[in-house]
Symmetry: D2
Subunit: 379 residues, 4 copies
C-alpha cells in the first residue's frame, strides 16, 4: 500500500489484494477489483492484484494469469504474511472461512469474507470477535445489499416511505440441486455447514435484517429430499421480527425453473415493495398515495439519482449480477480509504454473525419442532 | 323439482333454489344460477330461484326482486320447510353455517355452504357428519377449485406431469383490513370464528389439499396488527405435507397493493406451476422437457380443450372471477342430476372439514409455539 | 315497451329485444341483456328477449330456447315488423348489416349493429345517414370502448393527464387464420368486406379515434399470406393523427401465440398508457410526477371508483371479456331510457362510419403505395 | 502487435487499440476491451489500450488515465499513423465516422465504427467500399446483435424453428428527447445526419435485417415534435421484407416512461419470439408444439449452452447492457486473430451500409408520401 497511481491531478493510493479461491467467487471478486479501477471514478483505492491462493497449483497459477494476479500460491498463509497485501479476500469454501480470515486480520489486513461467515453462529461469532479485536475493516459478502433496487428499497424504508412494516416474505429459489450424481463441497456438511440454508437462506436472512430488522423467532421445517443428501435441500420458516412484522423465509435448491430467484416482498402501511433477483434491475413499488390509478410500479432502477448509478450508463441500460460485487467492494475500499464505517450498509462481520444466529435457530426449530427465539450476542 | 323446462327435444328438470344471504356471496351465487341456465348447455338442471332469506325484510325483498327470487323471508326456516326448494345455498355469515345447513339437509335438501364450513374443526365435523348422514349432496364453496387454471393444474398433477412434488408455496394477500374504522361481521370472533385465517387462509389450505395433498403439520404465527382487532389480520405457516413436500401457507388482509392476490407455486421434479388470482386466466408452467429455450410459460387458459371452456368464448376472450361460481354450481347440479359424486373435484363438506382441521392447527401452533401435527377424523 | 317490472318502489319499463344472429355475437349480446336486468341496478330498462332471427330454423329455435327468446324466425323482417320489439340488435355477418339495420330503424326501432358497420365507407355512411334520419338511437358495437381500463384511459386523457399526445401504437393480434382448411364467412369478400382489417383492424382504428382523435392519414401495407385467401390476413400502417400524433395501426390473424391480443400504447408529454386485451383488467400507467421511483404501474382496474365497477365485485375480483357487452348495452339502454345521447362514449353509427373511412384508406394505400389522407363526411 | 502475453502454456498476441472518443461509447468500448482480457478465456487477442483521441485535451488525458490508455491526443490522425495500433475504434459523432475510419483502414488498421456507419447511404457506401478495398476487418457496432437473447433468436430462426416468418414488429423507444433546453450533437443535422432515425431506428433496421432479412420497402412518417428541433424525434414505418413478411419499424425519443426499450416480436408459422432491451436477458418464445399448456415462455437466456454464456456466470445470474460490447469486440478480435470472417453475425460495414439504405428510404418516404422500394448496392 505504499504505491499509488497518478489520476491526472489526483493521486489514488493502491491497495494490495490477496485472494483465497479462484472459482465462482474468485472470478466475481477479481472482476470487481479490476472494474473498480476505472468504472468507479475516481476509485477510493486502486486495487492491485498481488496474489491468489488455491489448492491446485496449476489451476491457481492459471487463474493468476487470467485475472492478473502477480503471483499464486497453494498456501493461504503466504497471503497472510505478504506485506504487499492490504486486503485479504476470502472466497474459499465455508470451512476455510474462520482460520485464514482471522489470521489475516490479526496480521493487520482488512478482510472480506464470503457468506456464510462461519458454519455456525459460534464459529461466526468467533470470527467476528477476533477480527473486530484486530481493528481492521471487515465485510461479509452479502452482495445483494448492493443491488441498486435493494439499496433503493432500503433508502425508501429509512425515509419512512413504507410507514409501519407488517410483512416480509422472502425466498431464494434455485433448482440445480436435483441431480443425484452431482458432488460439490456444498453438499458436504463439514465443508459447507449446511445446504440451501447457508448457501441461499443466509442471503434471505440478511436482506430481511437489512430491510426490516432483526428476526426475533423462527418456526421452521428443514428438509433433505434426495437420497443420501447430507445437507438440507430446502428450509421453510414462519418468522417474527422485532417490533411486530411477520412473514416467511424460504430457501431451496429444488424449485424447478427458478435459476437464481431471490424474491421478496415487503408490505407497509404506506407502501409495498417487491423484488426478484432474476430481474435485478427492477423494483416493484406500490404507494398508497391516493392516485385513482393505483398499482405496483415496475421501477427500472437505473436513473442518475438511483443508488450506485453514478458509475454506469444512461437510464435503462441495465447492469448485471456481476456488478453487485463492484458496488460491494467499492464500498469496502471507501471505508478503508476514509477509515470510515462499513455500516450501515455493511454487511460487516457482525451482520454475518447475526445471520448465522437465525440460520442456527432454523436448524434448531427444524429439530425441536418449536418456535425458536433468537438472542444476539454483542462484543 | 316437479317442473321442467322444454329445451327443444330435451326436457331439463328444474331445481328450486333457496338462498340464505343476499350480499356479496348472495350476488355471486344468484348470478351463477341465472347464467347456468343458458351459458352451460344443456344445463344439468334448470335453477329456479324460489326464495331468498335475510335479516332485513326490506333489503331481502329488494334482493329478491333484483335477482328474480319468487319470494323472500327473514326466517331461514321457511326455506328449510319449503317443498319447492331442492337446493339450499348458505351464503350467510360463518355463525349461521351450521344450524341452517344441517336443518336443510335433514329436511332432504341438497346443500351448498360458503367457506369456512364451520368456525372450528369440531363445528365443521358436526356439519359434515350430520349432512352426510342425511344422504344429500353437499358442496363447500371453495370456488377457486373451479378456476380453469387451477383445474388445469390439478389435471396436470393427476396425470403425473409434475413428477414428485417438493414444494407448495401459497398465500392469499388482500389489503382492505388496514382501516381501524371499518366494522363487519368478519371482525367479530363469534360470527367469523377467525380473521384472515378462515376468510383467506382456508382457501389456500383447500388448494394445497386439492393440488398437493393433506397438510401433515404446521408451524405457525398468528398476528393481529390493528389495535382492538379481535381476529387475526395475518397468519404465516411453514408446512409439511403427507408424503414429503414442504412449503408455506400465508394469509393477510394487510398486504398493501394486493387486492385479491391468491398466489401459489408448486415445484415438482418434472414441472413447476404458478398462479395468481389477480390474473386468474393464466397458469405459469415450467417443464423440464429438454428444450434449449427453457422458461415459464404464461398459459392463457382459454382453449377449447381447457377445463370449463366449453361454456365460454373463443380462445383468449378471458373470463372473470364471477364465472368460478358458474363452474362450481354447475358441478353440484350435475352431481344432483346424475346422483353422482361431487368428488374428486369437490369440494365436499369433508373437504370443508379437513380445511378446518388445518386452520385449527394453525391457531394451536400460533398459541403453543410448537409444530402441530394434524389428524383428520373420518365418518 | 308498454310493460314494466316492479322493482320494489321503482317501476322499470321493459324494452323488447329483437336479435339477428345467434352464434358468437348473438351469445355475447344475449348474455349481456340477461345480466343487465340484475347486475346493473336498477337497470335503465329491463330487456325482454322477444325474438331471435337466423337462417337455420332448427338452430335458431334452439338458440331461442337457450337464451330465453320468446320466439324465433328465419326471416329478420319479422323482427322489423314486430311491435313488441323496441331495440333491434344486429349480430349477423357484415353483408347483413345494412338492409336489416336500416329497415329496423325506419320502422322506429333503436338499433345496435356489430362492427364493422358496413363493408365500405360508402355502405357505412349510408347506414348512418338513414338511421340518423330515422331519429332512433344507434350504437356500433365497438365493445372495447367499454372495457373499464379503456374507459379509465379515456377519462385520464379527457382530464388532460397525458398532456400533449405524441404517439399511438395499436395492434390487434390473433392467430386462428393460419389454417388453410378453415372456411367461414369471414374469409369471403362479399360477406365480410375485408379480412383482418374489418374484423380486427376496425377495433384498433376505433380505439385510436376514441382515445387520441381522428386519423388523418395512413401509409399502409395489406397482405394475404395463405394461398387462395381472398381477404387480407394482415394490415400494417404508419398513421398520422389530426393535431400531430403519429404511430402505427396493425391487425393480423397470423401472430402465432397471440389469441386475442389487442395491444396499444399512448405516449403523452405527462403520462403514458398501455393495454393488452388478454389482460383486460389492467392498465399500464406511467406518470412523469417527479417520483424517484418512476415506472409503469400495473393498475388493476377494479376499484369502486373505476368505470363500470359499480356493477361488479370487490376490488381485485376481475371481470371477463363478456362483461364489455353488459357495459355497452347498458350504455345504450340508458340513452334510450333517458332519450339522451349515446356520445361521447358511443360508439354511434357515426363512429362506425368514421372507422370505415380509415379502413378504406388503408385498402387504398395498400393498392396505391401512397400515403392516403382521410376525409370524413358529415350529415 | 508484435508483443504478446504469456497465459500459462499459451501465448496470446496483443493488439493495440486506438480509440476515437471517450464519452458514452468510449467508456463502453474501453470497458469491453479490458474485460475481454480475462472474462473471455483464453481471449483471441489481448487488447492493449495504446491511445485515445478527443477534442478536449484535458478531458481526453483524464479519460486515458481512467481507462488505462498509454497516451492521449487531440488529433485522431495520430492514431492512424501510430504503428502500435492494430485496431482503430471509432466512437466519435456521426460526422467523424467517414474520414478517420477510412484513413485508419487505408493505413492498414482493422476498424470498428459506431452506428450509424455514415449519415447517409451514400456516405455509408463510400466508407464500406474504401475500407473493404483496404482489406482489413471491419465491424459496424450494432451491438444488439450480441445480446444473448437476440443471438439465440437468430440461431432458432436459422435452424428453421420459426417456420415461415410472417411478421416483424420492432420499435426503439426512449424518452430523453422531450427537453427543449437540451443540446447535443445528436440534435444537429450536420453532425448526426438524422435524429431518432439514425440513433435508434438504425438498430431496429439492423435487427430486422439480422433476424428476418432485407427490408424491401417502407411507407413512413417522419416527425419532429419539439419547436426548433432540426432532426426527427420519431419515425413510423410500415415495411415489407423480401420474401413476404410485413410489419412495422418505429423509433422515438418521446415515448415517456420507456428508457431504453428496443422491443421486437417475430411471428412465424411454427413459433413466435419477443424481446425487450429493458429485460435483455429474456426471450419470449411461443412454440406451436401441440402442448395443451400453450403460451409464451419467458426464457432467461443464461444457460451454459446459450450464446456467449461460456464467458459468464452460473444460470440465472444475469448480465448487463455493457456486456454486449464484450461479445461484439470479442467477435471482432476473433475474426482478426483467425483472419476469419466477421459475418454472418457481423455486423460488417456492409450491414452498416444496408441499414443506411433503409434509413434513407424512410426519409424519402416521409417526404414523398410514397412507399419507397429499397435497392442495395454491392461492391
Amino acid at each position: 500500500m505504499t504505491q499509488s497511481r497518478d489520476f491526472g491531478a489526483v493521486e489514488i493510493p493502491e491497495i494490495g489484494i490477496g485472494m483465497l479461491g479462484y472459482a465462482f467467487m474468485g472470478k466475481a471478486h477479481s472482476n470487481a477489483f479490476r472494474k473498480i479501477a476505472y468504472m468507479t471514478w475516481p476509485p477510493p483505492l486502486v486495487p492491485r492484484l498481488v496474489a491468489v491462493a488455491g489448492r491446485d497449483a496449476e489451476a491457481v497459477a492459471a487463474a493468476a494469469h487470467r485475472y492478473g494476479y502477480e503471483r499464486s500460491t497453494t498456501d493461504w498463509r503466504e497471503l497472510v504474511s505478504d506485506p504487499e497485501i492490504g486486503l485479504f479476500d476470502n472466497g474459499g469454501p465455508n470451512n476455510l472461512h474462520a482460520e485464514p480470515t482471522i489470521a489475516a486480520a490479526e496480521a493487520g489486513k482488512h478482510v472480506v469474507c464470503e457468506k456464510p461467515l462461519g458454519r455456525t453462529a459460534d464459529e461466526s461469532y468467533e470470527i467476528w470477535r477476533r477480527v473486530a479485536a484486530a481493528g481492521v475493516k471487515h465485510l461479509c459478502a452479502f452482495n445483494y445489499r448492493f443491488v441498486p433496487a435493494v439499496r433503493l428499497a432500503r433508502e425508501m424504508i429509512e425515509a419512512g416511505e413504507l410507514g409501519e412494516i407488517r410483512h416480509f416474505r422472502g425466498r431464494y429459489l434455485q433448482d440445480w440441486g436435483d441431480d443425484p450424481s452431482l458432488d460439490t463441497w456444498r453438499f458436504h456438511p463439514d465443508e459447507a455447514g449446511s445446504g440451501a440454508l447457508g448457501d441461499l437462506g443466509a442471503h434471505v436472512v440478511d436482506l430481511a435484517h437489512f430491510l426490516v430488522g432483526d428476526v426475533a423467532s423462527v418456526s421452521a421445517v428443514v428438509r433433505a429430499f434426495l437420497p443420501g443428501r447430507q445437507v438440507d435441500d430446502a428450509i421453510e420458516a414462519a418468522v417474527e421480527f422485532a417490533g411486530g412484522p411477520v412473514g416467511t423465509i424460504e430457501a431451496t435448491r429444488l424449485a424447478l425453473g427458478r435459476r437464481n430467484s431471490l424474491q421478496w416482498e415487503i408490505n407497509g402501511s404506506k407502501a409495498s415493495l417487491g423484488f426478484d433477483m432474476e430481474r435485478l434491475n427492477e423494483l416493484q413499488v406500490f404507494r398508497a398515495d391516493g392516485d385513482r390509478a393505483r398499482g405496483f410500479k415496475t421501477v427500472l432502477v437505473s436513473e442518475a439519482d438511483h443508488p450506485f448509478w453514478e458509475h454506469w450508463w444512461p437510464p435503462g441500460h441495465i447492469i448485471g449480477w456481476g456488478e453487485t460485487f463492484v458496488h460491494e467492494l467499492h464500498h469496502l475500499l471507501t471505508a478503508i480509504a476514509e477509515n470510515g464505517d462499513v455500516a450501515p450498509y455493511g454487511a460487516t462481520f457482525e451482520d454475518g454473525y447475526r445471520a448465522a444466529e437465525v440460520c442456527d435457530a432454523i436448524v434448531r426449530s427444524g429439530e425441536s419442532g418449536r418456535r425458536e427465539a433468537i438472542g444476539y450476542r454483542i462484543l
